[in-house]
């Protein structure tokens, strides 16, 4: 089928992919410009197979969105609310613990803790929350606080990011999720989220975490006002950071959901947009072990197909996720692990239940 890739005008990139050579910025732009999704996917699938064989990973996790109160109020977000909003909420530590306690009978290995930039919760709240979760479920891995939240917590603590991270780890933090990266370009951040931590700042927090031995993920929110060049620049910045610290586990392209955001007049991403972002990131991010097709964002049907377009991870059973749901995500909610396993098998892959750090819990 390689002649088909050549016919799509991407033969030179295929040669690089086969030789394991790194793609250039221009290669990335050309891939995004092409509509030949079969040719792009075919190449991404070669890389996925080389790195992850037949494995398709999923995790049994729980989401805790402890508060939606946020001072950043990014234009692309339907989750964050002003403190005075009627829809604002925050959980106290007992409520967070109760959430964890509710599901003690399920084989959950990870709790994913993400909130907004809260104007007045004290630093101690975050430490107490981590300790509280561990108290209820000591063996659980806490993946918590995006780099944006970590930078905020360091400010609250009046300490360096490194010192803050060490205290968070001592309180129970296990790793850092990939959120808040959005698109690193200052132009995009100026227009959509000017109060948010800068792209450079985000990468600094991630690299600091990596140097302390913490693993983290990375994301890119695509499908709003960003250009192709800004996407590739974002990927290139991540690739450079990974060359330095090698602490990223997974890249998760996130489809922008316009409903209920200030950018509600923009269109939803299409299936082609979603697959292209998965495939191009798989090709470009040669030093990232994993690419996730997050089914909550793109729907289970496309997430299954994404396993042939570069993705090797479908995330997990995900209950209680609110951030996509608030933006009109049509498929948010839970999916039974039996359904995840069926989708993976039908796509010709081996379902592998993993923990946060990609240790194999069970091969199905």
């Amino acid at each position: 089928m390689e002649s088909m890739v050549a016919r799509a005008g991407l033969g030179d990139i295929l040669e690089k992919v086969k030789a394991g050579e790194r793609l250039t910025f221009d290669d990335g732009v050309r891939l995004y410009q092409s509509n030949d999704i079969l040719a792009i996917g075919y190449m991404a699938n070669l890389v996925r197979e080389r790195l992850n064989g037949d494995n398709a990973y999923y995790i049994y996790n729980q989401h805790v969105n402890y508060s939606n109160i946020c001072t950043n109020l990014c234009k692309f977000c339907a989750f964050g609310k002003d403190k005075d909003s009627a829809q604002a909420y925050e959980m106290n530590i007992e409520q967070v613990k109760a959430k964890i306690r509710e599901r003690l009978d399920e084989p959950i290995s990870e709790v994913h803790v993400v909130g907004g930039i809260h104007p007045d919760l004290p630093y101690s709240y975050y430490l107490d929350m981590l300790r509280g979760i561990k108290e209820v479920r000591p063996e659980i891995h806490i993946q918590g606080f995006t780099c944006v939240e970590i930078a905020h917590l360091a400010e609250l603590a009046g300490k360096s990011v490194a010192d803050t991270l060490e205290e968070l780890v001592a309180a129970g933090l296990g790793s850092i999720p990939g959120g808040g990266a959005e698109v690193f370009s200052p132009r995009i951040r100026q227009i959509t989220c000017e109060k948010k931590l800068s792209g450079e700042g985000w990468l600094e927090v991630a690299k600091t975490a990596h140097r302390l031995g913490l693993k983290s993920n990375a994301t890119m929110l695509y499908g709003h006002i960003e250009t192709i060049e800004e996407r590739v620049e974002h990927l290139e910045m991540l690739r450079n950071a990974q060359d330095e610290t090698n602490g990223f586990l997974t890249f998760i392209p996130l489809a922008f959901h316009p409903k209920n955001t200030e950018l509600a007049d923009l269109s939803k991403t299409t299936g082609l947009d979603d697959l292209k972002n998965i495939a191009v990131s798989r090709l470009f991010l040669d030093n990232f072990p994993h690419i996730k097709g997050y089914w909550v964002m793109i729907g289970p049907k496309l997430a299954q197909v994404a396993l042939s377009f570069g993705a090797d991870d479908m995330d997990g059973t995900v209950k209680e996720e609110l951030i996509t749901k608030m933006a009109g995500g049509e498929t948010s909610g839970a999916m039974a692990d039996t359904e995840l396993i069926r989708l993976i098998r039908e796509a010709g892959r081996k379902p592998v239940l993993r923990d946060t750090l990609y240790n194999v819990i069970e091969e199905k």
């Binding site: 079969l38 299409t270 299936g271 697959l275 049907k301 069926r342």
Partner: protein, 365 residues
């Protein structure tokens, strides 16, 4: 030529390569080769082959669609197919028949939205005479709209009730205003599958017989396949093969529409739903196998906008209908809706020009 080596054993590299070479050279694949492709072919192999054929048949970067409305004149049906969530048994008081007022309103709404045709289908009503359907056609035709109506099981049922030959029924319907026939009710054209899921519906031969008569009378028709229930992969290919054989004879099919069974609210609700991956492979195989059918339609109503857009890379060159109204799939718990504007945007996003067409694929300027 090179390709992804099939992972499963049982077929060697050379056999698969011969199939690829044959397809790319414009050759026709056998049922045995189709089964090899479906069972052991790689998603990319099927996709690339289907896309190559699609580009050969439709070199212009265009994706067509029709603006129409599904009007289901009755949900009362004696057939009681196990895969159907739409019908009402004759003794069920909740069943109904549309009045002319309701029909008229629906047609006016369709015309106002730039619609060019009505897809007219209903259940197999136990006792309405042929005159009833002729009157319905004349009433609809008074609006001057194309009537794509009465799938072969309905036509066969009318023939049974009236005691007339199929040909005579078709001639009378055609005279009353019927323009073309939809490919519904084909399900799987294999009598084992039909007797287990829809024993009271016409047989495979009878379905094909109605289509052959219609083609001979100059009516164009489509063909569908509803797969992913109790049929084997070989039976799916038998279905494709029967469609291809008739098309060789008559050339009357304008398009083929494969769509997966939607189990919710049906007697077969325990069956697992066909995944997107399996849908795309079946769609691609249809494009590869049916070398004599011009158009293959994506099924956005069952697959949703994302997979439907991707279908354009797996052999589909047509987005089907805007379905201003759709009841049958909706009854099976699938709620995808798309406006004409959304369909156009999806098509453009994939790099094609969206073009409105009529039933016979004439473009609407």
């Amino acid at each position: 030529m090179d390709f992804v080596t099939p992972k499963k054993s049982g077929i060697d590299f050379m056999d698969m390569q011969q199939i690829n070479d044959k397809v790319l050279a414009g050759g026709r694949i056998s049922s045995a080769e189709a089964l090899i492709l479906l069972e052991q072919g790689d998603l990319y192999q099927l996709g690339f082959l289907a896309d190559a054929i699609r580009k050969r048949k439709h070199p212009e970067p265009m994706v067509t669609y029709v603006v129409d409305r599904n009007i289901n004149y009755t949900d009362i049906c004696v057939s009681a197919c196990k895969f159907c969530a739409f019908f009402k048994a004759p003794e069920d008081a909740s069943g109904s028949i549309l009045t002319n007022d309701e029909l008229g309103r629906k047609i006016e709404e369709t015309l106002a939205l730039g619609g060019t045709q009505i897809l007219l289908q209903g259940g197999l009503h136990p006792d309405k005479p042929l005159e009833f359907y002729e009157e319905m056609l004349r009433f609809i035709k008074s609006y001057g709209i194309h009537i794509h109506g009465f799938s072969p099981p309905e036509v066969y049922h009318f023939a049974q009730l009236s005691g007339l030959p199929i040909k005579d029924v078709l001639i009378r319907l055609q005279k009353a205003g019927l323009d073309s026939i939809p490919g519904g009710g084909a399900e799987i054209l294999n009598d084992r599958v039909r007797s287990e899921t829809a024993p009271r519906k016409c047989t495979a031969d009878q379905w094909l017989g109605v289509m052959e008569e219609a083609h001979n009378l100059g009516m164009r028709t489509t063909a569908t396949m509803m797969f992913g229930h109790i049929e084997t992969l070989a039976e799916r290919i038998e279905h494709l093969s029967r469609v291809r054989e008739l098309q060789d004879k008559t050339g009357g099919f304008t398009a083929f529409i494969p769509w997966p069974f939607q189990p919710d609210n049906t007697v077969l609700a325990h069956l697992a739903k066909t995944t997107a991956f399996a849908y795309l492979k079946m769609l691609a195989l249809s494009r590869i196998f049916l070398d004599n059918v011009d158009n293959i339609q994506a099924s956005w109503v069952t697959q949703g906008p994302k997979i439907a857009q991707l279908s354009l890379s797996f052999g589909a060159n047509d987005f089907g209908s805007t379905m201003i109204e759709e009841n049958v799939v909706a009854a099976a718990g699938v709620g995808f809706r798309l406006s004409e504007a959304e369909i156009r945007k999806l098509v453009e996003g994939a790099g094609y020009t969206p073009c409105q067409r009529t039933m016979d694929y004439t473009l609407v300027s």
